[in-house]
């Protein structure tokens, strides 16, 4: 079973996404903050990370850079989800593997998750 890590500061989204993805047959872990994100990734060992860009307290792109710089974590696909379509460039620059603008369609989410966890 593929493992999905979702980090979002909005509890409602976090919960909805967890339910939806679980129903698709994934093991879902969620965190409401981005603190110690590397530890969290190391602990969960996800096949894919869904990350909200603007986590309270920390800049999402900095987080991405940190994660991608960490040994052994550079191969973990990180999907950036944001309510700011304009953040797409910045996100791609920081090294994320895909960008999803809120609000997104569930089918689209499933498609992306499926694609990056296929290998």
């Amino acid at each position: 079973m593929k493992r999905v890590l979702i980090i979002d500061d909005d509890e409602a989204i976090l919960e909805a996404m967890k339910i939806a993805i679980q129903r698709e047959g994934y093991e879902v872990h969620t965190y409401i903050d981005g603190d110690n994100i590397i530890d969290k990734i190391l602990f969960v060992k996800p096949d894919i990370v869904l990350l909200d860009l603007l986590l309270s307290g920390k800049d999402g792109s900095e987080l991405v850079k940190e994660v991608k710089a960490e040994n052994g974590l550079s191969q973990v696909p990180i999907i950036m989800i944001s309510a700011h379509p304009s953040a797409k460039d910045m996100a791609l620059k920081s090294g994320v593997d895909h960008f999803l603008a809120k609000p997104f369609d569930l089918d689209e989410l499933f498609k992306v998750v499926g694609k990056f966890t296929a290998s």
């Binding site: 909005d10 989204i13 919960e15 309510a83 379509p85 460039d89």
Partner: protein, 919 residues
């Protein structure tokens, strides 16, 4: 015997006695006296001693034979005295016989008739002389019998009339009707009555009298006298006359020419006055007489006599400076003193019109043959009109000086009135209408002391627009008023006693009130007046007054215009300097080299901290544009210049290094023919506005994010909910879920649009461009969009090249256009999408058959939140952002978006996308 001898001795006749042989025996004393021979010498001689030799021998033979026959011999003899002198004697020789009858002696008696003979000879000579005189006289002489019949005429007569005397058949002067008609018969008759007389010169036409064939006419000057015999009885009447035609006609001519000359001299307007060498008046014409105060030349000659100085002292002529003229100082006086020509100007008061008049007096001498001055001729020409003209010219010149020297209304008025009283009038006042009231604005008088009096008068006399006369009436009607003879009687109507007495004290003679009219509106009046004893305003003066009024009107209009312009300028300056923006002008136009700022308002100091001086003379405004904006600004300036006007936004760096955002509107300055000269700019500080906009966008951004997150979860939950339902329940409630999801999607889309608007308006759209096929994109869009499936959409044409752009954004634009077409046109109608290739770009059009868009909305449909209204002003649903976003997207691609539409006839929206990337 003794007695006898004594008698013989005493007789005056010479007596001598001889014997029969003729030897003298006795002589008496008379003989001695007559012959000069003494008795002793004569006795013993024969009478042959006194032979004169005048008589021949036959005479003596006859004598002797007669006396020897005893008869007496009597004959006139011419003898010769002892001293050789001839003398006539009546000679009688008588023989003396003795008683036997024999002749013994002869007695000779000589009567001395020498004196008688001499008298007889003289008479003869006289007759010859007179006959010659008669026949050869150059004068015509005609002799008449006492009953008037012509007896004789001389050659001169024949010559005069051109006929022979013989042709004059029985002419009787006393019966000549012509002479009677002429009226000289009485003269003729008196001659026939014995009185010599001179006949007046007559014009005689022989044809009218019985004068034979003679014709023509002659002027005749005649003398007629009677000739009487020794009994004092008239024997003949002599008429002597001469032809006076030439002289009469010359005289007539002379007379005529003199008359003409006189007529000319009388009729010329110039006065002519002739003085003799003594300075006495010898000729004057009417004009000159009038000048000197006489009604005619005759009266002047009659009343003034010859003494000119006396006349002069009475008539009040003055020189130009107003001094009384003395005779000696007149030009004629100088001429008589030997000057060739002299002249001077004189002034006098016309007694009829009471006007001051001017004359130029010019004198020139007339010389005799000997070169001495005989006369001085004065020509006096009236130069009043010229003087007045000069005065009016001077006045006009001064007036225009005043006008041009000042644009201050009050000072113009005062200066003009001051001028008017110098040359033209005694009084001048200007009244101007202010707020419907007539107000005295300027007043002048020759006599400064009187101004106070006049101002006092105006305290009592306040002209009103409802007045029936005077200033009020003139201003109300705009018609000039000329009181040539101002009657003091009129003043009686004035109620105020004080005013009446003040006006009487001034005693106006003549008044002119002229309206001052600007643009057909009476704005006031000028009043001119003359005082007691001064001249009355003539028509000429009226013209000058009108001219002045015109000039005043012009100057006031100028002043008004100047004031208006000044006020306007002040207002504009004020406005411009108070505009919360920088206003500046640059010259020349950008295509004519480097521009320089020629004007900038003072706000620039407030906004940017730079002084206006810093701006002028350079193109400073460009220098302080933010370096990032500068290149674009320079490009946009030249674009604006091409179009004529435009708006650009850029950042300025103030003196304190603060960055200011400004929006600058520009207008090209053109000359009369539309040629560009420069540019005018108005820049307003939009830093705050931009900040506000930014904050608003940020707000929208945040709000929409806040909306998106719950929407995302709502979306997910509704889907999950739908999935988790069992099939039975699902069937029942599926339609509700569908609706719910549809509404969530719609909410999603709205939020997306709001976000698009904010990103478009902040310019934060980032294109992810590639070359792609527009045809394919549109085909996919039509096919893939389920919502459009039930509508007939026709795709026509194609593009030949791929375009450069962001597929997602372009897709959004196509989506928007198709959605609009569906939304705003009837279900049954088709929608036509057309593609074609332009030169640099591909063009897509979407045509619907909807209600169309009225022209007035063609611009607003592309504006942010622009709405389209149909005929009944119903708005159509939607936020009105789609077209705005679409156009901004297309613009970002370097393309364009426009529409063609008419109300009720459907709409066609176009957009173009360049094939290649636009810098």
């Amino acid at each position: 015997m003794c007695k006898f001898i004594s008698a013989v001795d005493q007789t005056e006749d010479a007596v001598f006695i001889t014997d029969i042989n003729g030897t003298i025996e006795y002589v008496n004393p008379a003989f001695i006296k007559m012959t000069g021979y003494r008795a002793s010498k004569a006795i013993g001689q024969t009478p042959s001693i006194i032979k004169s030799g005048e008589h021949d021998s036959r005479f003596y033979e006859k004598l002797w034979s007669r006396i020897l026959s005893g008869k007496s011999f009597r004959k006139v003899l011419v003898n010769k005295s002892k001293n050789g002198k001839h003398f006539f004697v009546d000679h009688t020789i008588t023989p003396i016989k003795n008683s036997s009858g024999e002749i013994t002696n002869f007695v000779g008696i000589w009567k001395d008739i020498t004196k008688r003979k001499e008298a007889e000879n003289e008479e003869k000579e006289n007759l010859i002389r007179y006959t010659n005189l008669f026949t050869q006289s150059p004068l015509s002489i005609q002799i008449f019998s006492p009953d008037g019949v012509s007896i004789k005429a001389n050659k001169a007569w024949e010559k005069l009339w051109g006929i022979k005397y013989s042709e004059l058949d029985g002419y009787n002067i006393l019966k000549d009707k012509q002479l009677k008609e002429i009226g000289i018969m009485s003269y003729i008759q008196s001659a026939f009555k014995g009185k010599a007389c001179e006949v007046p010169v007559i014009k005689f036409e022989p044809a009218k009298s019985k004068f034979g064939k003679a014709n023509g006419y002659k002027w005749i000057k005649a003398f007629i006298y009677p000739i009487k015999d020794r009994f004092n009885k008239i024997s003949e009447v002599v008429l002597i006359y001469r032809d006076a035609t030439g002289e009469v006609e010359a005289e007539k001519k002379l007379e005529t020419s003199q008359k003409q000359q006189d007529a000319i001299l009388q009729s010329v307007s110039d006065g002519i006055l002739v003085q003799n060498a003594k300075g006495e008046l010898v000729y004057v014409n009417d004009a000159a007489a009038k000048l000197y105060g006489f009604s005619s030349a005759k009266k002047m000659l009659f009343l003034g006599g010859k003494d000119l100085s006396k006349i002069l002292s009475k008539c009040g002529l003055r020189n130009e400076s107003g001094e009384k003229l003395k005779f000696d100082l007149l030009p004629a006086g100088e001429v008589l003193k030997g000057k060739n020509i002299a002249e001077s100007t004189i002034t006098y008061l016309d007694k009829d019109t009471k006007e001051t008049r001017w004359s130029l007096l010019k004198a020139s001498p007339i010389y005799t043959d000997k070169g001495t001055i005989e006369y001085a001729v004065n020509v006096i020409s009236d130069t009043t009109a010229q003087k007045r003209f000069e005065a009016s010219l001077k006045f006009a010149a001064e007036a225009s000086k005043v006008i041009s020297s000042s644009l201050d209304r009050e000072s113009i008025l005062q200066q003009l009135t001051d001028l008017a009283v110098l040359e033209f009038a005694d009084w001048c006042a200007v009244d101007i209408v202010e707020d419907g009231k007539i107000t005295l604005k300027a007043l002048a008088n020759k006599d400064v002391k009187k101004i106070k009096l006049a101002r006092n008068i105006r305290l009592f006399y306040r002209p009103d627009l409802y007045d029936r006369c005077g200033i009020g009436k003139v201003i109300a009607t705009g018609k000039i008023k000329h009181y040539r003879n101002f009657e003091l009687k009129k003043l009686e109507k004035i109620e105020s006693k004080k005013l009446r007495s003040m006006l009487k004290r001034i005693g106006f003679t003549s008044i002119i009130i002229v309206p001052v009219i600007i643009k057909r509106k009476v704005i006031g009046s000028i009043t001119f007046a003359t005082e007691r004893y001064k001249h009355k305003f003539s028509k000429h003066d009226l013209q000058i007054a009108q001219q002045l009024a015109l000039q005043l009107a012009a100057s006031l209009e100028n002043a008004q215009l100047y004031e208006d312009v000044n006020n306007e300028k002040k207002r504009l300056d004020n406005l411009v300097s108070n505009v919360p923006g920088v206003v500046w002008e640059t010259y020349p136009s950008p295509d004519k080299g480097e521009q320089k700022i020629s004007f900038v308002n003072s706000y620039v100091e407030k906004l940017l901290g730079y002084s206006t001086k810093k701006w002028l003379g350079t193109n400073f405004w460009i220098n302080i544009v933010h370096p990032e904006d500068r290149e674009r600004v320079v490009r946009e300036v030249s674009e604006i210049f091409k179009i004529g006007k435009g708006v650009i936004r850029f950042r300025w760096i103030a003196k304190d290094k603060k960055v200011l955002s400004v929006e600058a509107q520009s207008q090209v300055i053109v000359d009369g023919s539309g040629k560009p000269l420069g540019m005018r700019w108005v820049a307003t500080d939009i830093t705050e506005r931009e900040e506000m906009e930014r904050r608003k966008d940020e707000f929208v951004n945040i709000v929409s994010h806040e909306l998106r997150t719950p929407l995302t979860s709502l979306n997910i939950y509704s889907k999950i909910l739908q999935d988790t339902l069992n099939p039975e329940e699902k069937e029942k409630s599926n339609i509700y879920f569908e609706n719910m999801i549809k509404q969530v999607k719609r909410l999603n889309k709205l939020v997306k649009q709001i976000l698009n608007v904010s990103s478009v308006s902040t310019g934060s759209i980032k294109l992810n461009s590639n070359y792609f096929s527009l045809d394919k994109l549109i085909r996919n869009n039509i096919d893939g969009n389920k919502r459009l499936n039930d509508r007939k959409i026709v795709m026509k044409g194609k593009t030949s090249k791929k375009v450069w752009g962001d597929k997602d954004y372009v897709c959004q634009v196509v989506d928007n256009l198709l959605e609009n077409a569906v939304k705003y046109s009837p279900r049954s109608s088709e929608i036509v999408v057309k593609l074609r290739s332009g030169a640099d770009s591909a063009v897509v059009s979407v045509k619907d058959h909807g209600f169309g868009i009225a022209k007035q909305y063609h611009k607003t449909v592309f504006e942010r939140f622009g709405r389209v209204y149909d005929q009944v002003d119903r708005t159509y649903p939607g936020l009105g952002m789609g077209l705005y976003i679409s156009r901004e997207i297309i613009k970002k691609h370097g393309g364009n978006m426009w529409l063609k539409s008419e109300s009720g006839k459907g709409s066609t929206f176009y957009f173009s996308i360049p094939y290649n990337k636009i810098n």
